[in-house]
Symmetry: C2
Subunit: 221 residues, 2 copies
DNA sequence: ACTTGTGAACTGTTTCACAGCA
DNA sequence: TGCTGTGAAACAGTTCACAAGT
């Protein structure tokens, strides 16, 4: 009766990964796929795949597996990819411009409709289909064009103010690339991506490995 | 006696966040900080902060808190940020170029020493301190300059081959921005960043909220 | 009095193992 | 027979609560 309730972030991330695997299977002409195969492609276990999908329904056929096309459609729907999401990028520096023209965003229905920046040098330039507009117009643009998502790539110092303007305009979600975490009302979904953390994770892992293998003075025991 | 063993990814990510908080405290002239304050800045609980740190040692003083400068140094050391890590970017498109000039990487000791690309139009251009070199030289460059990390921003179709070249050159870690997951030996640390997944997480969250709040026909209960 | 460091309790996630169905 | 869907078991991560140190 009731719809899925508390789905973990890990499950949602894995759904995205299944979607990509299904895309690739579809491109190669496969019609059905088992949880074993779906798991192998993403380095997961079959039970994990079945459990993840079971939160949302019964999409497979016992003894047979999943229909690639059907499952792809179901996951796309679950992830909300069956619609177009208008998206703006705030901060038209190198990272913002790169993200604005990132082809995989538009392919999944995230349509970059405009960029915003304070630097008057940059105004009017087009990035893909989108134009760079003055940041002062952010709130009214978001409201008038019913923009769903804002991608934040401003300097850290402007992050909170920019988030406030997005929220004032009625934004639904913010993907934040700045190293600060802006305060937003809980009706607005916030997701933080910190590229430095990813590299720090690598350097930590290497340092750990060195400690473990470590003191290679003389022989090991 | 023995060093920390299995540290969870979440703990490592939080350490990175503590580091940024400490940087900001230091800049504002604070000398000591309690787990309560350190937690509040990152939206965590004090117990979490103390537990995370306890995996690595006892850095605080009971009744008093942590010395901002000392703790910052300890965390930087734990994360391996007390050294310089030579890093190359493979794929000098918009995203690769943006990452190569991302100021926060160099600030944490990740020094971008070169970019690599197949497109001869791009060769020789400088991005920050680094030059764009032909991808054919990747393996020998990595070996000769003892490069630690490779950031992968090639098209998906070139990801595995590029990862192979990095591995052959003796790379220690790969930060992969392509939507495929390349196979690497387990001595090489791999971290995948998928920007589309982050936006999909947002659209999922909004769709979920709609289902919950959902049928706003009539009154709610 | 105050705040850390940590075992113990709790909560959440993953894996197991098998009943149910094609 | 083969593979899904799912409770139950195992494991991992978080929070609690308090002894210990200054």
């Amino acid at each position: 009766m009731s719809s899925p309730r508390k789905i973990s972030d890990s499950t949602v991330r894995r759904l995205s990964s299944y979607l990509r695997t299904l895309d690739s299977l579809r491109a190669r002409g496969h019609d059905t796929v088992s949880s074993v195969h779906l798991a192998a492609a993403g380095g997961l276990t079959p039970a994990q795949v079945r459990k993840d999908l079971s939160f949302f329904g019964s999409f497979g056929v016992r003894g047979r597996g999943y229909d690639v096309h059907v499952l792809r459609g179901e996951i796309a729907r679950i992830l909300g990819l069956d619609r177009k999401w208008s998206t703006v990028v705030v901060g038209a520096g190198r990272l913002g411009s790169a993200l604005a023209s990132y082809p995989r965003f538009s392919r999944q229905g995230f349509r970059i409709v405009a960029l915003f920046d304070n630097d008057s040098e940059r105004l009017g330039t087009r990035i893909g289909d989108a134009e760079i507009l003055p940041a002062t117009e952010l709130e009214s643009y978001v409201r008038q064009h019913e923009v769903s998502f804002g991608i934040l790539t401003t300097p850290a110092s402007a992050a909170q103010e920019t988030a406030d303007r997005l929220v004032a305009g009625g934004i639904r979600g913010i993907l934040n690339f700045t190293p600060t975490v802006p305060e937003v009302p809980e009706t607005v979904h916030l997701r933080n991506v910190n590229l430095t953390i990813e590299l720090e994770g690598l350097s930590f892992a290497i340092r750990e490995a060195e400690i473990r293998e470590g003191p290679q003075e003389g022989e090991s025991d």
